[in-house]
Amino acid sequence: MTNTMNSGEVISAGTAGKGQVPVLECRDLCISYRTRAGEVPAVINFNMRLMAGEAHGLVGESGCGKSTVALGIMRYLGRNGFIKSGDILLNGRSIVSMTEDELAQVRGGDIAMIYQEPMASLNPTMRIGEQLAEVPMLREGLGRKAAMAVVEKILAKVRLPDVARVVKAFPHELSGGQQQRVVIAMALLANPKVLLLDEPTTALDVTVEAGIVELVQELAAEFNTAMVYISHNLGLILETCESITVMYSGEAIETGPVAEVLREVRHPYTKGLINSIPRIDVSRYERPLTTIAGQLPLPSARPQGCFFGPRCSNFVAGTCDQAHVQMVPITATHASRCQRVAEIDWERPAEEGKLRQKAEPGEVLLDIKNLTKTYGKVKANNNISVEARRGETVAVVGESGCGKSTLAKVILGLESASSGAVELGGKDIGKTPVTKRDRETVRNLQMVFQNPFDTLNPSQTIGFQIGRVLRKLGGIKDEAEVQRKVLELLDTVKLPRDFVFRRPRQLSGGQKQRIGIARAIAGEPTVVIADEPVSALDVSVQAAVSELLLDIQEEKGTTFFFISHDLSVVRYLSDRVVVMYLGQIVEQGPTEDVFQPPYHPYTEALLSSVPISDPSIVKRKVVVSADVPSPSEPPPGCPFSTRCPYAIKGVCDKDQPQAKTFANGHQIACHLSAETLLAMQPIILDQKAS
């Protein structure tokens, strides 16, 4: 990257007017890593102006350089990273040219950072109180006692219950949400001017996330702290920030006030991103997802001209693949790095994805009756009854630890049911381990796994892994036939045929996931259990894999048993939804009904927690406490009674609620009367006129 290209590139977002000095400013910042393959530019000519009290969002898919920007601001780039050129100004002072001592003042003083993994960010052998007390002892030169007092005050401020206990606790004794609150408290202790948050809630459940986001916003307002909020979730940025920068392959490609950028998109990548995000308020029949073709270029192999060129539907040869594309101002605060920004018709609706027809589900294939699975004292699955019909998608949703994966394991025969039945085609297989099941049963029940990096055997070729299923379950003996089928399956999952030779490490996450799907459907199963098949993927890849699953279902009439914590994806993919909480089913019914009132109070809280990336939508807020009871000591009555805002004292905490049935077989297990439930307001209140 030469420096000549950035001349005139001064545009960056910022709501404040000219003249004021920004608290933090990045000027043509270039950051590179030294690797064995040579020097890799990770961030290129990055500009940002952050005014006091302003919150700026940084979005983009993984590997686009978001974290590198944050760590660069802290000048903490590890052994092989370095700031190649450009400057970072803190209140006009250059961080890049600071000495180590000055830097130590800035770190944790003027700028504090909060990271994705709260557990890993805390010293495991030091008590919380001591870790926090270090900050006031260092900054204000306080003694231990005085420092502890300060610490207790701040812990109360981040709304941790039982501060006295937390101070003495070790990190592992706190829940993920509590740990993140501790990390936030640590950051706030120094009263920083700028807070860098790198995916602070990505590892947390949605209801916990909602609580943390609310906290961060309140505190930032109170202390007038400016924030750089990094996330891959556009909706979250919309809810938390005033301005936004969208990054792609190391560059800012669009920047401006959040609502404006989302409403008046001026870059094809941003537009693609928005159109590939499923939403909890519309179904696949109303708004099919569009996908972005291709994948992120490797930093070492970026194309000539526009980095997004090879994936862009507006690409014009001779224009987009020539000189490096500059930021083009659109308004005073909004800019886009697109050569053709003036030529493209931005109002034209995106080329719609495939509009799908509702199909009638067939007979019941998988029938789970009163299934209970206990591990010692823990009831991982408690009296679960669900059925899945031919050709439909049944989704099981719930936050981590609610028993989703256990249910999948029992169905697949990796665990055996403690009581109750799992019937496949009328035969109970709940207590038969997979090794004892007959080949037909095994063939008919296959699985797609969550983690693309784990799902394939790293030492076998793709061809071998798919072929093995064909031989083993498909019963195909003829080698030429196996060969033909493997290639066909690669076609089905839309991967090039020469992938048969490849090994998993040569594939991207999305490609691996496609192979995982090909492997699952190779034996022509009637039921496929998909455990979070898209949750580890970036949104654009997520959309493509989701579409693939729908295509396969349409073509083969496969039944999907789909497990997820992501309500938007569930809304998009499923026909029926089962909501689980602490091992029990609290609500189930057709997807349309579950996402509309009446809601179970837990479902309502879940829905309200999901950020939506549409500025024209107004959401009703329901915040519940973040403390999920331990599965080994569930509350005696309704499992949700410890967090439920509607809980009826003396009833909910004593008696298990029975399921009430509403229209279309929609069932809700709650003590609230049917009238109360029916009178609930929808979570999506209104579409603001734009």
Partner: protein, 306 residues
């Protein structure tokens, strides 16, 4: 742990209860070392006289009882109770072990920590290469080379450590050095690996980005976590030492536990061999236990579980 000790002792008892070892004792007791053959009748008599025809378990229990009373049998070679021989030799080896640990722990930990602070740095590279080389020289080779150069060549130190003229600190130097060369390398390596892992962890990043100086980050946050594994390893070195003491003591003719074990094996002093094997394995079991306890104590995550 108790179960493990019981199994180990039972196993040892069973091995030494075999005809093969019994005959060796019988031959020695009945005829002294000169007699080679032993008639069946004499042997049967001897067994009856010794009460060795009683049921196995009964004898095992009574043997354990004897062991607890400190009665470990009689050494034929030295013609003294095994227990006093053992006590004497364990003391000698204890002295050796004490100085060994005294030197090994601080040197190895320091080298490991220093190397691990900056992976790939100059110090790291020097220490790493040094530790590969030092762990590559087998104990006999170290003993030989040290003796050749420091004793035969330069004449600084005595080449034997038999301590014929009473206790001499000088005679301890070569055996301890021999043990140190390997083990400092080994423990330093492990410490380095642990330190590198800690230094690249996110909580070290947190500590640095709090604004702590790098000295504070290392001393307050890194070292404590990095030493958890090496500390447990130090206890396990006791087991290692019991193995390597044999060759070192034999080479330098140091009158310790290792040499006693070796002589007993070579000259068929069976009851000494049995006692030595029992002691060694019990020490090893205890060192494993200590190591587990240390791990649990140093690691807050395990502290409550226990």
């Amino acid at each position: 742990m108790a179960l493990l000790m019981a199994t180990v002792s039972l196993l040892l008892f069973a091995i030494f209860d075999s005809d093969q070892f019994r005959k060796q004792i019988a031959v020695a007791e009945l005829g002294g070392f000169g007699v080679a053959a032993l008639s069946e009748a004499d042997y049967t008599d001897w067994i009856a006289k010794r009460g060795l025809d009683a049921p196995f378990l009964e004898r095992y229990v009574s043997w354990v009882g004897q062991v607890f009373q400190g009665n470990l049998g009689h050494s034929l070679e030295y013609n003294m109770p095994v227990s006093s021989l053992l006590a004497d030799r364990l003391t000698s080896t204890g002295i050796l072990a004490f100085f060994f640990f005294l030197a090994m722990v601080p040197i190895a930990f320091t080298l490991g920590i220093v190397a691990g602070i900056k992976e790939g740095g100059l110090l790291d590279r020097i220490i790493s290469i040094g530790s590969v080389v030092s762990t590559s020289i087998p104990q006999i080779a170290t003993a030989v080379l040290l003796t050749v150069f420091l004793s035969l060549g330069l004449g600084w130190l005595p080449s034997k450590s038999a301590m014929v003229a009473g206790f001499s600190m000088k005679e301890l130097v070569l055996p301890i050095l021999t043990l140190l060369i390997y083990d400092v390398g080994y423990v330093a390596r492990m410490t380095r690996a642990s330190m590198i892992e800690v230094m690249s962890s996110n909580y070290i990043r947190t500590a640095t980005l709090k604004g702590l100086s790098s000295a504070k980050v290392i001393l307050r946050h890194a070292v404590r976590n990095a030493l958890i594994v090496p500390v447990t390893l130090v206890f396990l070195q006791l087991n290692w030492l019991l193995s390597h003491i044999v060759v070192v003591e034999v080479f330098f003719q140091y009158n310790g536990f290792g040499q006693m074990l070796y002589n007993a094996a070579m000259y068929g002093d069976i009851e000494v061999l049995q006692a030595a094997a029992l002691t060694a394995s019990m020490v090893a079991v205890v060192s494993q236990l200590l190591s587990d306890i240390a791990y649990a104590l140093l690691n807050p995550r395990l502290r409550e579980v226990k």
